[in-house]
């Protein structure tokens, strides 16, 4: 070790080593000179003599330095060249090893890039850990994440001391008209503190002034906005409009009103949502309703306060408000969640699972490569023995073996970085719905991770061989005399361990992906309560400027529906303020209660409100559980009616009929009236198959006209084919009112479990790769075993062993490895299954069917891997073998 240490010192402290050498030589000369002076020579003469006797200090120093660098590099160069030559000797195996490690390192790095950018890195705002989202909760009504009521925000700001700021916002579509075709943009109306509390300064211009916010007093989301409106643009919209640096001060026409641009926000400012196009001010300070829970809220905590402390404080404020306004606030509390968690959502757990899975895959890859080099060195053990006998030092041989692994891992790492870079480029093709996708970049942490992974791979894939060699080397020297007949026991322990660990790791991955498949099938197979097939969704945002009366919006929709129904291949047309799984449209709740019940009784529950047209039920294939559906009889002036869904009916009148009863709806702006229940609608999983049905009421759109509507069309064929015709029709009816985006409902529904699909596909690919590698190893080891024992097999055959017993002998060895790996893998999978729990729906983490399929599949594939080498064993010609003898 001292020698190695010395070399490290020489390389890392070159200057110091040079200085020490000079000092050492000077000392030598001084000693000699001193002795001569003692003997009576004068000093100058002594120096001259010394120089002649022992040579020049300078040239010796040069020689020393030259040898040092030369030695280190030469040694390294020799080892690298030698390893490269060995690797070139078996190009197939080498390429396979490099590719295996390359894929493992590449995919691991790619996933780490995602985990790093999406989960680990803080949000790109100053002190982001103090930013939180606020939700209203009503635990009795089962509401955990409701929007907040605007008046509550004003009270929180007055009565709490935990926050530097609280802001409310609401996003909706607004139509931009200008030179080209009108288009719908996503606009957030934001209260005064919004930009100040996030603390991101505008890229251009400024944020809204207090005065601009005060002017923007509109009570309802769709009400006309105040005088002299202003707007801020997102970076993306600004660039789309030409990226003019002097845009501040110009005007835009939104919903037929002229807005002055006051600022542009920087790229990466993705609040309140990633697809945001613009912001307009919104004054929340006025007297606003307390029971309309639809506003998003964001806040910044004061330094040093925890989320829990702030939540406690707000809940005590909510308690006071419930006492002061029992009719609207009783039962309502508050929940705070870190903005980071809200932004990342369930993607974090998916990414962690995938990163862990790809880590297992990398282990399989390392074990595979370790096995390959182990097998290579076993085939080379004769050569090794010869070199040992000729005096090569064991340490040197070990260094050479390790150098091979380092070369392979280095090449694998290079390939991996190419794979990761390519994957990063292709990422937007495969997924556009990842949160923080725009922030996905490579940083120094990723580089450290990738390098570390490469080093780790070199160690993991090189150590088993090096370790085995270090224990075998003394024996290898002796085995020179009869290399084929000795050393049969121990060498297999390492080889078998590599195979067993690969099988076990592959089993873990198979079990995990099997569970995800089951969960995905459950999600896809679940009946959401509506039929999305052939349905196209077109969100329409009418503006209050042109459609300021119910009559106008009724007329618009009546004309539109007539024209759409007349389109060829359209089976039916309907509309609703919000449709299941569509992110656009006003989804809000109102308190409802049976007519006879007291307004503050426990039977007062919040119900989601939908305004629907008669065609809606048929177009979405909703089930009518009781009574009748809304139809043309429910005209503006006829009896006010509504429908309830099964959940609401069961909650208010358990075991009794709801049809014919009267339900009071607290529709604050329009007053509190009773409505006659004409029918009960089947429950719908409104937010997709992971969500539970909530209480819902359906109003006839004719009786409660609404400006925003998701129009749905049903066709027998592909809904995509309808898109051009629908766009043309919309333009004909009102050129200023295009749809935001036309999307088939099946895609919207699929998007609610897109993450499940992505996780499943990724894990299936990982598991498939792992199985492939593991089976390759089983095959390789058995084939080598047959090769090594060909003498023994030949002898047995010559002594009369029949083919079947030989097949049994080889196959038993293979199946034993498979069985041990399978058992270990299943045990480990069982232990790890809890980590998947959050991703699974409709299947237990310890699902027996999945385990059975894994066992069956692996046994099947494993059999194939053992059959071929077994058959090869029977083809050995005993005569040839015995002649070699």
């Amino acid at each position: 070790m001292t020698g190695l240490w010395r070399r490290i010192v020489e390389i890392t402290r070159r200057r110091a080593v040079d200085r020490e050498a000079a000092e050492e030589l000077a000392h030598h000369v001084e000693m000699l000179v001193a002795r001569k002076v003692e003997a009576g020579v004068d000093e100058a003469e002594a120096r001259r003599q010394a120089r002649i006797e022992i040579g020049s200090v300078e040239s010796t120093l040069e020689q020393l330095a030259e040898e040092r660098t030369g030695f280190a590099f030469e040694q390294l160069g020799r080892e690298v060249t030698y390893a490269a030559r060995i690797l070139r000797r078996s190009p197939g195996l080498t390429l396979l090893s490099v590719a295996t490690l390359g894929v493992g390192i590449g995919v691991s790095t790619l996933l780490f890039v995602l985990v790093n950018a999406i989960v680990l890195r803080p949000l790109p705002y100053p002190e982001p850990d103090r930013l939180v989202r606020i939700f209203d909760t009503n635990l009795q009504a089962g509401m955990h994440r409701a929007g907040v009521a605007t008046a509550n925000i004003a009270d929180w700001r007055l009565r709490s001391s935990s926050f530097e700021g609280i802001a409310g916002y609401y996003s909706m579509g607004r139509t931009l008209s200008g030179n080209s075709d009108a288009e719908v943009l996503i606009a957030a109306q934001v209260s005064g503190d919004f930009f100040a509390l996030v603390r991101v300064p505008p890229h251009l211009g400024r944020a809204f002034s207090e005065d601009e916010t005060r002017r923007a007093q509109f009570s309802s989301a769709v009400a006309p906005i105040g005088p002299d409106p202003v707007v801020m643009l997102s970076h993306g919209l600004w660039r789309r409009l030409g990226g003019d640096p002097s845009v501040v001060g110009r005007t835009l026409t939104l919903d037929r009103r002229v807005f002055k641009v006051v600022g542009v926000m920087p790229d990466r400012f993705a609040l309140p949502q990633p697809d945001i196009d613009l912001w307009i001010p919104w004054d929340l300070s006025g007297n606003q309703p307390r029971d309309q829970h639809y506003v998003g809220a964001i806040a910044r905590l004061k330094p040093g306060l925890s989320v829990g402390q702030a939540e406690d404080e707000l809940n005590s404020v909510a308690g006071q408000l419930a006492l002061e306004h029992p009719a609207t606030n009783r039962g309502w509390g508050v929940r705070l969640a870190p903005l980071h968690d809200e932004t990342v959502g369930d993607t974090a757990s998916v990414l962690w699972v995938l990163l862990a899975a790809v880590g297992l895959l990398l282990l399989v890859a390392c074990a595979n490569v370790a096995l390959l080099s182990l097998m290579r060195s076993l085939d080379r053990s004769g050569e090794t023995a010869v070199r040992l006998a000729l005096g090569a030092s064991p340490a040197r041989l070990l260094r050479e073996f390790l150098m091979e692994s380092i070369l392979i891992a280095g090449l694998g790492g290079a390939l991996g970085s190419v794979i990761a870079a390519a994957g990063l480029r292709l990422l937007p093709v495969f997924t556009t719905d990842l949160p923080r996708l725009r922030e996905v970049t490579v940083d120094s942490r990723v580089l450290v991770f990738g390098t570390g992974l490469t080093i780790l791979s070199a160690i993991l894939s090189g150590m088993p061989q090096a370790w085995r060699q270090s224990r075998m080397l003394p024996a290898a020297g002796r085995s020179l005399t009869s290399p084929r007949l000795t050393d049969t026991g121990r060498r297999h322990v390492f080889r078998d361990a590599m195979v067993v660990s690969q099988v076990a790791l592959a089993v873990i991955l198979m079990a995990g992906s099997g569970l995800l498949v089951r969960s995905f099938l459950h999600l896809r197979g679940a009946d959401p309560g509506f039929d999305p097939r052939g349905v196209l969704v077109a969100p329409i945002f009418l503006d209050s400027q042109a459609y300021n009366s119910g009559e106008r919006s009724r007329t618009y929709y009546r004309t539109l529906f007539e024209r759409l129904t007349a389109l060829p291949s359209v089976l039916s047309v309907g509309g609703a303020t919000t449709v299941p799984t569509s992110p656009l449209g006003p989804d809000f709740e109102r308190p409802v209660w049976p007519e006879k019940a007291a307004p503050d009784s426990a039977r007062r529950v919040p119900a989601s409100v939908r305004m629907v047209t008669p065609g809606y039920f048929r177009t979405l294939g909703l089930r009518l559980a009781d009574g009748r559906a809304i139809d043309d009889r429910d005209a503006p002036k006829s009896t006010p009616v509504l429908m309830v869904n099964e959940t609401l009916a069961a909650r208010l009148w358990p075991g009794e009929r709801a049809v014919g009863r009267r339900l009071v709806v607290d529709y604050s702006t329009a007053g509190t009236y009773p409505y006659e229940i004409i029918g009960v609608v089947g429950d719908v999983q409104f937010r997709g198959p992971r969500s539970d049905p909530q209480p819902e009421i359906y109003f006839p759109h004719n009786q409660k006209p609404y400006l925003i509507m998701n129009v749905v069309l049903k066709t027998a064929g592909d809904p995509h084919a309808l898109i051009p015709a629908v766009r043309r029709t919309l333009k004909d009816v009102d050129p200023q009112k295009p749809a935001h985006e036309l999307i088939p409902l099946e895609e919207l529904l699929g998007a609610t479990y897109a993450r499940d699909r992505q996780a499943m596909v990724a894990l299936l690919v990982f598991a498939g790769t792992a199985i492939f590698l593991a089976v390759l190893s089983v095959y390789g080891v058995l084939a080598q075993r047959v090769r090594e024992r060909s003498r023994e097999i030949g002898l047995r055959m010559a002594l009369g062993a029949d083919a079947s017993s030989l097949v049994g002998w080889v196959a038993t060895a293979g199946l034993r490895l498979l069985a041990i790996g399978l058992a270990a893998g299943l045990l480990a999978a069982w232990g790890l299954s809890g980590s998947l729990e959050r991703l699974l729906v409709g299947v237990a983490p310890t699902d027996a069917l999945t385990a059975a399929v894994v066992v069956g599949l692996l046994a099947g594939i494993g059999l194939v891997a053992t059959v071929v080498p077994s058959w090869r064993a029977t083809r050995i010609d005993p005569v040839t073998i015995l002649r070699q003898g």
Binding site: G3, E23, H27
Partner: protein, 104 residues
């Protein structure tokens, strides 16, 4: 592997006690009766080589005239190597002598 002649001599001088470079040179000269005179250009590269192979270990300490000097110590590996190489040399030398003195 057999050691070069100078390497062997250096290790031998270190067998009983650590020495600095000058001391090693002196000792070899003295033991060889002045036949071997070691130059800097031979001694220090050899020491560097031996240290790198882990046969000797150098460390700074104070010399007899109160100056900083680098002292070399024989390591365990060096001791083993010395024994082995010494035997090999003795055999070689004996064989050489037999050949040279043989009556043709």
């Amino acid at each position: 592997m057999a050691l070069e002649k100078l390497d062997l001599l250096i290790l031998k001088t270190l067998l009983l006690s650590p020495r600095h470079g000058y001391g090693i040179g002196q000792r070899i000269e003295q033991m060889s009766g002045g036949v071997f005179r070691i130059t800097l250009g031979a001694l220090y590269p050899a020491l560097q080589r031996l240290e790198r192979s882990g046969l000797v270990k150098g460390s700074w300490s104070t010399s007899e005239n109160n100056r900083r000097a680098r002292y070399y110590t024989l390591t365990a590996a060096g001791r083993r190597r010395l024994t082995a190489s010494q035997k090999a040399w003795e055999r070689t030398v004996a064989a050489m002598m037999r050949v040279l003195h043989a009556e043709e």
